[in-house]
Symmetry: C2
Subunit: 297 residues, 2 copies
């Protein structure tokens, strides 16, 4: 496995692979890898000649009061997991290497990046767009793999790729969960035992909503949100940052007064939530395809 710490090393490795006509599968991460990341690496391994993993805790996507400094890191374990998953190249740049001077260029994706985490974390998706754009230019991937836990991130990146005619296929991959339903996240390590046990309510409430929708496709967006919100409020000590129901991937509101199945016809919608347990902010979501809900009714 080739560990590159500079752009120059990475570019050389990419050039060699490209020169041989090889396809490149790319998994960009902030490290502290878990089974969710591993599932992305395995998908990349299956579909490409070369698998590139990047590990970079990108300061540009953290707000001034966020957890940049205490974001968990364990390079040795990450590298071992990468090797297990058949990774060929790991790119681990320093902040100085990625940003040798303050970037003057900014990338903004309107509409898609404005709600949910975009509203709670101003500038977050600008930072994501910038670093993903840089990494795409450095890695020149055939396909790039992103987890749907960050469903808004997937939507923002897909929009950016389409608008900028970037030559890469975005592959969204399903959320990987603990046996009790908690979505895997590098931040789960911050949770106390009590918070950890309460946090299962997030995925449980989304499952409950899915069941309710199967029984009653005429539920309104407000009723869906209420079901999830009430559950979290009743069963946890968490502070709700948001619970929202939006069309996906446009991430625009659904007409409020209509039943969901009528309002959305053959489109997708997402119920996304962010909840704070102490200083730890967790996110989760469920994507619904209206046809599937109807079929299951």
């Amino acid at each position: 496995m080739n560990i590159c710490r500079t752009k120059q090393q990475l570019k050389l490795a990419v050039k060699e692979a490209k020169g041989q006509g090889k396809t490149i599968g790319f998994v960009p991460t902030m490290g502290y890898l878990h089974e969710g990341h591993a599932s992305l690496l395995r998908a990349a391994r299956e579909e490409n000649d070369i698998v590139v993993l990047s590990i970079f805790v990108n300061p540009m996507q953290f707000g001034p009061n966020e957890d940049l400094d205490r974001y968990p890191r364990d390079e040795q374990r990450d590298v071992a997991l990468a090797a297990q998953c058949g990774t060929d190249i790991v790119f681990i740049p320093s902040v100085q290497e990625m940003y040798p001077s303050k970037p003057l260029t900014s990338i903004k994706v309107a509409e898609v990046s404005e709600r949910l985490c975009g509203a709670s974390r101003p500038g977050h998706f600008d930072g994501v767009g910038l670093v993903v754009s840089k990494l795409f230019h450095l890695v020149e991937p055939t396909r790039a793999y992103f987890g749907l836990k960050d469903a808004q991130q997937v939507a923002v990146i897909e929009q950016m790729v389409a608008d900028l005619d970037m030559n890469v296929e975005i592959v969204p991959c399903p959320i990987v969960r603990e046996p009790d339903g908690l979505a895997l996240s590098s931040r789960n390590v911050y949770l106390s035992a009590i918070q950890r046990s309460e946090a299962t309510v997030l995925s449980e409430s989304l499952s409950e909503l899915a069941n309710a929708l199967k029984l009653n496709g005429a539920m309104t967006p407000a009723q869906c949100i209420e079901l999830v919100t009430d559950n979290i409020k009743e069963k946890t000590s968490g502070d709700i940052d948001y619970v929202e129901l939006l069309e996906y991937p446009a991430l625009m509101p659904v007409p409020a007064h209509e039943g969901l199945l009528d309002a959305l016809a053959d489109r997708k919608f997402i119920v996304a939530l962010a909840v704070r347990f102490g200083s730890t902010r967790l996110i989760d979501n469920a994507l619904f395809h209206v046809e599937e809900v109807i079929e299951r009714v």
Copy 2:
């Protein structure tokens, strides 16, 4: 010569060239080609295996009251000139092909894009950044050629390429002028006979400044600007949009009270101007390397 009207056709042609390990020289233009464009094509021809020209009048870089609708076009002549210069691929997309839906993604280059034409034409360089970024992703050039008449455009694109780690070498090429000094521009065709004859004062005043600086390197920025401004005001009916002296390529002001050679040490500066003759806006500039001025003193 391969004329591509769709992204798909272009991508196929690029993929074939890349697969053979060929280098690609790229000249993005808005068409109505003149000797300035031809000089870029010839430079690209000399340094690369494949030469790609794009012709696209990009609506996103025109303001609502600008000359998008009357921007001159002559595809047949452009294609003939491209062939003469040894171009391999010409990309001529429609607006619908380049922007199948309204782009939500925007690219902004702070500081460098804020003065000169960036101040006179709000949003202009956002439009340039967007379309150049799209074209770079579609063409995947080894080198891209830009004329220094649009010196700010060169600076903005170089900054964007550096910040986004784009894998392309930007090659700035000298301004091409008419025998009487007027910088070539597709917009020169709009000038009346009288305006055309007055317009030579733009380059003449820049030459006069160059001579003055050789005699007196202690001139202040204000004195330099005054020399050019007075010349234009006295000898033409043109309306000055701006005459500015800035560091290049940062495009930031030079300390106002010092002599230029002291203030700038070993750096470059630009004197750039925009002047309206009727509804036709012309730009010109001169780049000065402080060492060279000193040598010539």
